[in-house]
């Protein structure tokens, strides 16, 4: 975990520095008033200090826990990456093609990615989930899910 903790510490320091930079644009405090930057300022110090301690303690750490390697060649990581990309495409396409069409494609794809090979069951379950979610939200909870601009909605 040593190397990973150092990376997380650096990210923490970077966020902290970013907050300090943005605080420069905040309006100055009026006399006798605590301004908008007061709390973020304290918190940025807190994040910076804890990040620094994490880096220092990681550098001097003698025994380190076994780190789980993040290898792009790992099948699990690839599956997680593909599912993230598929979800992003699903979200992008939803406005245009609507919830029903997109979900009917997204669900079987995800099931296939997760090694489901009972094709008939995949289609039936996808249809059932899509229909149930759509009906519950639109009829019972009165929430309209995207219907698809391509169909004129």
């Amino acid at each position: 975990m040593k190397r990973i903790d150092i990376i997380f510490g650096i990210i923490g320091l970077a966020i902290s520095a970013g907050v300090f930079y943005m605080l420069g644009d905040f309006p100055e405090d009026q006399p006798g008033e605590v301004g908008a930057g007061f709390f973020p300022n304290i918190l940025a110090y807190g994040l910076g200090v804890t990040s620094l301690i994490l880096i220092i303690s990681s550098v001097f750490e003698k025994i380190s826990e076994e780190a789980e390697p993040f290898k792009l060649t790992d099948a699990g990581i690839q599956r997680a990456g593909i599912s993230l990309i598929a979800t992003a495409i699903y979200c992008l396409a939803m406005d245009m093609f609507g919830f029903i069409a997109c979900t009917m494609i997204f669900l079987p794809f995800m099931m296939f990615l997760l090694k489901e090979r009972k094709y008939f069951q995949m289609v039936v379950v996808s249809g059932a989930i899509t229909a149930t979610v759509f009906l519950v939200f639109s009829s019972f909870l009165n929430i309209t899910l995207p219907l698809g601009t391509i169909y004129g909605y």
Binding site: G46, C91, F106, L141
Partner: protein, 491 residues
């Protein structure tokens, strides 16, 4: 208390129509609560229009049924899929999900129903008998005391940090920084919004919650598809065992009283109560290190605290006309539409109505116990569904949950972003719960500290030395020190 009037009101609630509405409300509430992203607030808000035309007893019965059911419902998805259905169930997942992972989902769910009933019923009883006194005490709280309460709540971050307190504190600071995004509560200045109107109110809480817990969990599940075993839930009985009840009754009793009190403080909701109850159970335990690994007391304490909060939140709403949380704010609106103005005068002029509300709340908790027990086998079966079917379904439900809060795709992207963050944090053993706690308590701490400073002419000493504030702060520091010492001893 006028006992005759109370029993008269109770009989009115026990007529078949109000009773049917209570059961329908509870069932609907459990369904809404168990779906990540659909909160009790949302459930009650959506159903208020349906109750306008109903007689008072039926209307209030249904609304209180949804209220009680949804708070318990949140624990179902927390236990089964590591995603709190409502923010109130965030503490439940800390031990509920590990129990489920051990194949003891039934045990966790049955204890959750029972503890929810104990908490909810206790809260309703305290509300019935002590509401004027408790609201008087809560009324004494000013901004400084609220700040102290928030800081005490934040010290719980240490308790939910797992193996590394440093990582927990670091993530907590990150969460607090995230909570400052959006319009400044005092001056209205937009902070860290990057020019996006969608961030003017800060990152929406529910999509953030869905991202950190649901999406992150699904990504983890997708990655570890072949390395983790499918957990099969064993449900020997839908009722909690006597051993479990004996083991957890003290925590349940304590959490129920604490939850009611916290609920009675306006602004301090069931999510905070659950964490405080959990932390207290952990603090007094002989084996605190076992918390977070699947300890039944953890489920019992958090569930009784968050359900007790419902009764507590009704106290200031009914007796002062000040809602204790978002749901009671909506209920207050529903009361006004029914021609009833909650407040001190209600106790003098319309005691019958007050007792009807008390009765409906008590009956709603009994209904929750019945519906909860009857539904356990059905709910626990969800976990036996193959991961290849379950994970994509959770994906879709979470996305819809994130979308439904504001009918906005931005919230779905936000949830996805937090999902990636949560995934990496979990993967490298950074605790995620401190972010959640910080998002709940951060705004409360900041706005009240600044308000208190304005009142005290910017004298921090004056703010921190107010007696109740000082007690909360000392308790927070003690929690911090004891947690660090305990961790060192374990090492």
């Amino acid at each position: 208390m006028d006992i005759d009037l109370f029993f008269g009101a109770l009989l009115g609630i026990l007529e078949w129509k109000p009773l049917l509405m209570i059961f329908a409300g509870v069932a609907g509430g459990i369904l809404i609560g168990s779906l990540p992203g659909l909160t009790a607030t949302m459930g009650v808000a959506l159903l208020v229009p349906f109750t306008f035309g109903l007689p008072f007893n039926e209307s209030i019965g249904m609304l209180l049924g949804i209220f009680s059911g949804s708070v318990y419902g949140g624990s179902i998805s927390a236990i089964l899929i590591n995603t709190p259905g409502t923010p109130a169930a965030a503490a439940t997942l800390l031990d509920g999900y590990p129990l489920s992972q051990k194949g003891e989902a039934g045990r966790a769910l049955s204890m959750s129903v029972f503890a929810s009933f104990v908490g909810g019923f206790t809260g309703a009883l305290i509300m019935t008998f002590l509401s004027p006194q408790i609201s008087q005490l809560a009324l004494e709280f000013s901004a400084a005391e609220y700040f102290g309460l928030a800081v005490f709540g934040l010290s719980i971050i240490i308790s939910v940090s797992g193996k590394s307190i440093l990582k927990g504190i670091m993530v907590g600071f990150l969460g607090l920084l995230i909570s400052t995004m959006g319009m400044d509560p005092v001056s209205g200045y937009p902070r860290f919004t990057f020019g996006s109107m969608n961030l003017f109110e800060g990152p929406a809480f529910i999509p953030t919650l869905i991202g950190l817990f649901a999406f992150a969990e699904v990504f983890k599940g997708v990655e570890q598809l072949t390395t983790t075993k499918q957990v099969v839930s064993k449900i020997k009985s839908v009722f909690p065992s006597l051993t479990d009840i004996k083991r957890a009754w003290k925590d349940m009793a304590k959490s129920s009283v604490m939850g009611t009190f916290i609920g009675s403080i306006p602004g301090a909701g069931s999510d905070i109560a659950a964490f405080v109850g959990y932390s207290e159970a952990k603090r007094r335990s002989k084996n605190p290190e076992e918390f977070g690994t699947g300890k039944i007391e953890g489920v019992a304490a958090s569930e009784s605290a968050n359900n007790a909060c419902s009764g507590g939140a009704m106290i200031p709403m009914l007796s002062l006309g000040v809602p204790g949380d978002a749901v009671t704010a909506i209920l207050l609106g529903a009361f006004v539409i029914q021609g009833i103005q909650p407040g001190p005068m209600l106790y003098k002029e319309d005691l019958d109505t007050v007792y009807s509300v008390f009765s409906a709340m008590l009956v709603a908790n009994v209904a929750m116990l019945i519906v909860g027990f009857l539904g356990i086998r059905f709910f626990a079966r969800a976990i036996t569904v193959r991961k290849s079917i379950l994970l994509p379904a959770i994906f879709v439900m979470s996305m819809v949950g994130a979308y439904s809060m504001r009918n906005n795709m931005f919230d779905v992207w936000l949830a996805l972003g937090f999902g990636v963050l949560g995934y990496f944090l979990q993967r490298y053993r950074f605790p995620v719960s401190p972010i959640l706690l910080a998002l709940i308590l951060g705004p409360m701490a900041e706005s009240n500290l600044r308000r208190a400073l304005i009142i005290a002419d910017n004298s921090m000493v004056d703010v921190l030395t107010r007696p109740i504030t000082a007690v909360f702060l000392i308790l927070g520091v003690l929690t911090l020190i004891t947690s660090i010492l305990r961790q060192r001893r374990l090492k």
